[in-house]
Amino acid sequence: MVTDVDLSVRIGSLELAYPTLMGSGCYGSGEEFAPFIDLSKIGGVVLKSVTRAPRLGNPTPRLVQTPAGMLNAIGLQNPGIDWYLEHDVAKFASRPCAVIGSVAGFSVDDYAYVAERLAARDEIHALELNISCPNVAAEGETFACDPRLTARVVKTVRATTDKTLIVKLSPNVTDIAGIAREAESAGADALAVINTVRGMAIDVNAWKPRLGNVTGGLSGPAIRPVAVLAVYEVARAVRIPIVGQGGIETASDALEFLLAGASAISIGTGNFTDPRIPVRIVEELHAYLAARGVRSLREIVGKANVGFANPYQYEGDEG
């Protein structure tokens, strides 16, 4: 039994006090959840994805509940990078946790433009590249579904900033490990695995799709087995750290991702179940590791994944 358990993790050059990020698009800029949770007890917030031009997003309804999950089709509603830099970003300085900007786009040029401007701001500690949003016109999804496009966009963005670059992958592909390898070679510091799974629901009374956008992205506990497998496979294919996500609600869920090979985890839909989940997970991870005499969370990463190469091994700074 040990009591001093180290839950901190490093993702690229980003140091996180806790291994818990809040999923992009699910957590606003953090402030919205402050009444319910102590934000200094989470690792960081991934901000809502921002694009070059403002977007009103998709028509409503944008949300549908499904068994143990939900579909969303927000459609990247955001004020565009100009307004965002002018009105919103300064406020993020007061967050007592890491703040990670999320960049979306419709062309390689878009991504590079927005990433460069966003990364230039001190309030933004790292960038996540959302090349896997299923809720915008075909091109948006294509990036993470095509190994060559993935390589191109990552390489171009990489050239614009030295801040930690997390590339968010889509599960809606035949071979996610192949895409992951492309992102790694192109210079990604870490991978977010996974974005939502494409799905739809139909209103059987009105005889039409339930989402204004017809199709949406499935998240929540329903997709957890899909996400754990994606992490497991990606972890065998790359040596950069992985931020595991998809349906995490408990420490046990988080441990599945960590044992599969994720170095950190992200919680999105779980916050809609109970906003205290992220802090509970940290407390329970602490107790779990202490009870097993494990001194650092990093030690268990990939432990259920035979053939996995722990990313920390290759950095020379950990055993």
Binding site: G28, P35, G57, T269, F272
Partner: protein
């Protein structure tokens, strides 16, 4: 809408009572002194399904007095079915109170329009109005008599209650907004909560009567606190409730998307661009 937000937090609560008001309509009272103390009429909670694996559900705060608050819901899906299974002594959690409630200042003669489950959000404003000696009428519509739940409660609280049912089994036959349109005693403020077609009809009638109306909107929520932008409604860009950047809707008009959970759920009818 005046900002009627209250300090929200998460509460682990104990079920005090459970009543089936009609088949599939449950009233759940719980011990929540802190919540009850700060709730404003028209606010709601996000209630956490006790079994996990399912998102929290938005429920209007029906009663809030002393140590006790309550919610009332129609069992229509897996989550409300789960809540319907709770009994006295069970525990669950709620986040709240959330959202901006009704603005009641200055009104002298208020018509509250409630349809179906919308009734769950209008007891508190009715009580507040009666307490301030405002003439308060409830126009209450439902599919059938049985679903006009807790009607007498509003009478006991001092409201005049006018009912309508789709099948004519109680009160007027037809839509409750027809009864509103036909009233001789013109209100100076209309508050409404209910299904979207009823709200649109209310907005129309209010326009005809030349009376300001506040509508409590409904939409599927995910976060309930403004974090996901899943519950938006287009507003006039000059609305005091407009939260952020303006944009053009499909028709090319300038609108601002407001979050029903955060800027609402109550909006001025004339500011909605839906």
């Amino acid at each position: 809408m005046r900002a009627l937000q209250s300090p929200a937090s998460v509460h682990d609560v104990l079920v005090l009572d459970r009543t089936e008001l009609a088949p599939g309509v449950v009233l759940l009272g719980f011990h929540a002194p802190q919540l009850a103390a700060v709730t404003q009429p028209g606010q709601f909670v996000m209630a956490v399904p006790p079994g996990g694996e399912r998102a929290a559900v938005a429920l209007g705060i029906y009663e809030a007095q002393g140590d006790r608050a309550s919610v009332m819901f129609f069992v229509c899906g897996p989550r409300t079915r789960e809540f319907a299974g709770l009994r006295e002594g069970d525990r669950f959690s709620v986040s709240g109170p959330l959202g901006n409630g009704f603005t009641l200042d200055g009104a002298k003669n208020v018509a509250i329009v409630a349809g179906g489950v919308g009734i769950a959000s209008v007891l508190l404003p009715a009580q507040a109005l009666v307490r301030s000696h405002v003439r308060t009428r409830l126009f209450y519509g439902a599919r059938t008599a049985e679903l006009l739940v807790d009607r007498e409660r509003f009478e006991r609280e001092g409201c005049e209650v006018i009912c309508a049912t789709d099948d004519g089994s109680f009160g007027h036959r037809g839509f409750i907004t027809q009864a509103l349109a036909a009233t001789e005693d013109k209100p100076d403020l209309i508050l409404a909560c209910g299904p979207s077609p009823m709200l649109r009809a209310t907005a129309f009638v209010a326009g005809e009567l030349g009376v300001a109306a506040q509508l409590s909107l409904e939409e599927t929520f995910a976060c309930g606190v403004g974090g996901c932008w899943g519950c938006v409604v287009p507003l006039d860009r000059n609305s005091a409730q407009a939260p952020g950047f303006p944009g053009q809707d499909e028709g090319g008009s300038e609108v601002v998307y407001a979050r029903i959970c955060k800027e609402g759920p109550v909006f001025w009818a004339h500011e909605l661009r839906w």
